[in-house]
Each structure stands twice: as structure tokens, then as C-alpha cells.
């Protein structure tokens, strides 16, 4: 059951840390060549060194169309093809609407929406040229299905990802490129860890209490793990998912309606 992606090549944007790192590690363990496309080259290089021969780090700012095109062409140069494009790069911030600076709003749109659009475009152009299909997987979130106070910016971007993915699925089906997205609940990552203090501050609770309150919302009784997301991404990329496109796959421990 391991090495299901033997010989395939995957690009994971934002692959150096958090969920992206989990996806990189899982796809690599499943036999794929992996490209860690990230702006954090210290973490990206450290990860590619740890993984060894079938992993490379490529500095990629997803807001930059040229950088994504270059990332894809370097990937093809290195590994011969691109089969799996995981547009994972994104970030979250705590910011009530009335306190959100327009520039902070625009920056989030730029990374979380434009970055995914540009990643889909660069990945699909290569896959169409190759003529053998492929899998594109985009990072959405439970926040894209249900509004969360103080995260209007983030929720807006993640809802956009769902609709972009659906539109892309229809557009790219004739090329046998499947486009899906994943919608986790709260996942234990460095980014969420940083956020907890702000959530606790807004609620007037301790960090531990804020953590517990979020855990209590989950029927499964625990926070999500990066491995939960990575396992589903690996499956969405494999041949078993050949008829799955335009879908949001949720891993949220039953936290509904996410």
C-alpha cells in the first residue's frame, strides 16, 4: 500500500511548514518526487535535505506568476514531469473587520486566492502540455464553508478557493486533470499555535482554555493533525480517486456544518 505515487512528481506550495510539510512528507513516503515550493528557504532546504534524493526545495512566492512558472519548469527539468500540484500556500490572521487595514486585506487575497489561481494556472499549463492528465489539489478550509467572527478575510479567501476549484474542475476535465480541495477544521500547526494567543485574548480566556474550547467543538474529541490532511491529499492524488473532481474533502472530526 505504500509507494502508491512511485515515479510521480508533486509540487507542494507552502510545503516547508505546517500542513504543507505534512503533505510533502506523506507524498514522499508514498513514493513521489516532491518539490517544496516556499518562501521560507531555511525550512524548505532543511526538509529537502532530510528527505534525500527525491526532494528539492525551490524558492517560490505564490503571488508571483513568474516564480510559479519557473518553479514548474525547474520541476520538469529535475524530475521530467509534473503530475500533482498541491496549492497549499496560505496564511491566516486574527483581525476584526473594523480593525483590518485595507493593505492587510489585499495581502491575504493576494496569497490565499491569487496564489492558488496562479498555481492552478502554472500547473495546468504543464499538465495539458504533457497530455496525460494530473491532479490539482487546493487548500480551502472549514472557514470557507462557515463564517467565523474575526476571520472575514480568511473565510472569504477559502470560500473563493472552493468555487475556483469547482470551476476549474469543469474546465480541466477534458484534459483529465482533476481539481479538488481540502477543508480541514482546526489543525495543530505552528500557524494555529500563534493564533491561539490572539483568540484567547479576544475571549478573555487562557491559551489552554481557548485550545480546549476549540477541541470541545469537535465530536471526534481532538484537534486535527497535519497527517489527517496529508492522508486525504495523497488519496485524492492517486488512481483510486479517478472519478473524484470538483469536490471538497473535509477532515474535521465531524465538526459540522464544515
Amino acid at each position: 500500500m505504500t509507494e502508491r505515487h512511485w515515479g510521480k512528481t508533486a509540487v507542494v506550495t507552502g510545503g516547508a511548514n505546517g500542513i504543507g510539510r505534512g503533505i510533502v512528507e506523506r507524498l514522499h513516503a508514498d513514493g513521489a518526487n516532491v518539490v517544496i515550493a516556499d518562501i521560507d528557504m531555511v525550512a524548505a532546504t532543511s526538509l529537502s535535505d532530510a528527505l534525500g534524493a527525491n526532494a528539492v526545495a525551490i524558492e517560490t512566492d505564490v503571488r508571483d506568476e513568474g516564480a510559479l512558472a519557473s518553479c514548474v519548469s525547474q520541476t520538469v527539468e529535475q524530475f521530467g514531469a509534473l503530475d500533482i500540484m498541491v496549492n497549499n500556500a496560505g496564511y491566516i490572521m486574527f483581525s476584526p473587520i473594523v480593525e483590518t487595514a485595507a493593505d492587510d486585506w489585499r495581502r491575504m487575497m493576494d496569497v490565499n486566492i491569487n496564489g492558488i489561481f496562479l498555481g492552478m494556472k502554472a500547473g495546468a499549463q504543464q499538465m495539458i502540455a504533457q497530455g496525460k492528465g494530473g491532479a490539482i489539489i487546493n487548500a480551502s478550509s472549514g472557514g470557507g464553508r462557515k463564517g467565523v467572527p474575526n476571520f472575514a478575510h480568511y473565510c472569504a479567501t477559502k470560500a473563493a478557493v472552493i468555487m475556483m476549484s469547482q470551476a476549474a474542475a469543469g474546465e480541466m476535465a477534458p484534459h483529465r486533470i482533476r481539481v479538488n480541495c481540502y477543508t480541514p477544521g482546526h489543525v495543530e500547526t505552528p500557524m494555529m499555535s500563534g493564533l491561539l494567543d490572539k483568540i484567547a485574548g479576544a475571549q478573555g480566556t487562557s491559551r489552554d482554555e481557548a485550545y480546549q474550547a476549540l477541541e470541545d467543538e469537535v465530536p471526534w474529541g481532538r484537534w486535527g493533525k497535519v497527517e489527517d490532511v496529508a492522508a486525504a491529499v495523497s488519496w485524492l492524488s492517486c488512481n483510486d480517486a479517478e472519478y473524484i473532481t470538483g469536490q471538497c474533502i473535509a477532515m474535521n472530526g465531524g465538526q459540522l456544518p464544515w
Binding site: M1, Q166, A169, G170, A173, P174, R176, R178, V218, P219, W220, G221, G224, K225, E227, D228, A231, A232, S234, W235, D240, A241, E242, Y243, I244, T245, G246, Q247, I249, A250, M251, N252, G253, G254, Q255, L256
Partner: protein, 277 residues
């Protein structure tokens, strides 16, 4: 070493060749699970073509095929509309293989299609009893067993594309499948603390025996040739083909595996992009 080694699965409505239940049972067996397949089963050799019900002989043949392929399966008669028979099927799994880890509530009825103005209570009840009451009994008795074992488990209910949109002329079927979604969400909430994941699969058209009948029925009802009907259907599907039983089996295998440890309460479309919500 396979993904489901050591697991025991029960698949209802798995006694028809070409069916979703057969494909899921065979896939789980190939992945290492020991499988109890059930169907309503009529007497060996007796065909009930008019009612579209499989025979015991056909169900036994499917179990034999699994065993001949190196898997482990046994067949058991179960009418899912009868609570004691569903409880009996769970008991059969436990008696035969010692436990129950995976319950697939697949048995369904897709005939009796009539517009609402002409839909009789008898037909409404027949469809709801199999498709919704039967799933309720399956969820209830599988969960009871899994809770008693104390090691969690996985329950999969087979819903449909008809759980996500209406279809003219199929009110009872559509209502029953929407009901399965509500039942799935609620069961996921109730059994989360017991580490039992509950999800549903929503296929679009698959040309099973039932699917073939539906093509015949709906093309005739719409005054189309079956070819034109199928061409129009395929043109609505982004991936350009109808579903295969293997597509549904692959999703079931995923949901049962350790690749989906945090996926519960979901209703997953396997539809080539025809449904996206």
C-alpha cells in the same frame, strides 16, 4: 500486508452481480478484510425478476468468488427492513469472524418511480423502509456492536446523487436518500465519542442492474432513445463518463482505511464532478 488486514466488514445488499455492494465487498476483501455479505435473497434458483430481487444462489456465488480469489467471505440472508434480521446479520459477523469493524449500509431500492400525484403510500413506504429505515437499523446495530468492542469502527451509508438534488418522478427515492444524509450527520455526532466514523457515499449514475433499469425507465418516460438519454447524461458529467462500481468501491476503501482517520459526518460525491456540493 494490506490496508484492512484483521478487519471484519458487513456489506448489506451485496448479493447482485454488477452491483455496488458486490464491488465494495470484493474491494474490501482484496484489501484484507473478512467480509459478510448480505442480501434479501430468495430461494436458491428462484428468480424474482419482476421485483428485481437477487437470489440466494447469486449471493452465494459472490461469496464463492471472493473466497476463490483468496479473500474471506460468507453470505447471509438479511431483509434490512426487519430490525431483528439486521441485528442477526451483525451477530453473524461476530459469530463467524469474532468482531465487526466496518458496516456498509448499501441495500437500497431504486424502482417504484412515480410522480408525486400518482405515488401511492404502499410504494412510498416500500422505498423509505428499505432505503432509510434499513440504514437506520444498520447504523444502530453496527454501532451497538462497535461500542461494545470499544475500539471504534467505520460506518458507511450508501446515499446517492439524489441526496443532493431532486429528480422529477423519484420523490420517494430522493427523499429517502436525503434522509440518509441527515442520519449520517447525526450518527457522526452521536458516535464521535466512541471513535466510530460515519460517512455516506453519493454516487451519480452507475450502470448496475438497477442503473440499467433506471436508464430504460427514464429514457422511455422522457420519450428518448436510451442512447440519446445516455449521451445527454454523459454530457452533463465533467469527466465525460458515468460512474463505475470500482469508483464507489475505491471511495469505500479509502473511508475504511487509515487514510481517513479524521473524516466523519461527510457525504462524499463520487460523480465525475457532476455534483460538487
Amino acid at each position: 500486508m494490506y490496508a484492512l488486514d484483521g478487519k471484519v466488514a458487513l456489506v448489506t445488499g451485496a448479493g447482485r452481480h454488477r452491483g455496488l455492494g458486490e464491488a465494495m465487498a470484493k474491494r474490501l476483501a482484496a484489501d484484507g478484510a473478512r467480509v459478510v455479505i448480505t442480501d434479501i435473497g430468495k430461494e436458491k434458483g428462484v428468480q424474482f425478476a419482476a421485483e428485481h430481487i437477487g437470489t440466494t444462489a447469486e449471493m452465494d456465488a459472490i461469496a464463492d468468488e471472493i473466497n476463490a480469489a483468496g479473500g474471506t467471505a460468507t453470505a447471509h440472508i438479511c431483509d434490512v427492513t426487519e430490525e431483528d434480521q439486521v441485528a442477526g446479520a451483525v451477530k453473524k459477523a461476530v459469530d463467524t469472524y469474532g468482531r465487526l469493524d466496518i458496516m456498509i449500509n448499501n441495500a437500497g431500492i431504486g424502482y417504484l418511480m412515480t410522480d408525486i400525484l400518482n405515488l401511492e403510500q404502499r410504494d412510498w413506504d416500500a422505498v423509505l423502509n428499505v432505503n432509510l429505515r434499513g440504514v437506520f437499523f444498520g447504523v444502530k446495530h453496527a454501532a451497538q456492536q462497535m461500542i461494545a468492542q470499544g475500539e471504534g469502527g467505520t460506518i458507511i451509508n450508501v446515499a446517492s446523487q439524489a441526496a443532493k438534488r431532486g429528480f422529477a418522478g423519484a420523490a420517494a427515492y430522493v427523499s429517502s436518500k436525503h434522509g440518509v444524509v441527515g442520519l449520517t450527520r447525526t450518527a457522526a455526532l452521536e458516535f464521535g465519542p466512541n471513535n466510530i466514523r460515519v460517512n455516506s457515499i453519493c454516487p451519480n449514475h452507475v450502470t448496475t442492474g438497477l442503473g440499467a433499469w433506471q436508464n430504460e425507465h427514464f429514457s422511455a418516460a422522457g420519450g428518448q432513445s436510451e442512447d440519446d438519454y445516455m449521451t445527454a447524461m454523459q454530457s452533463r458529467i465533467p469527466l465525460g463518463r458515468v460512474g463505475l462500481t470500482s469508483d464507489i468501491a475505491a471511495m469505500a476503501a479509502f473511508l475504511c482505511s487509515d487514510q481517513a482517520p479524521y473524516v466523519t459526518g461527510q457525504n462524499l460525491d463520487v460523480s465525475g464532478g457532476e455534483e460538487m456540493h
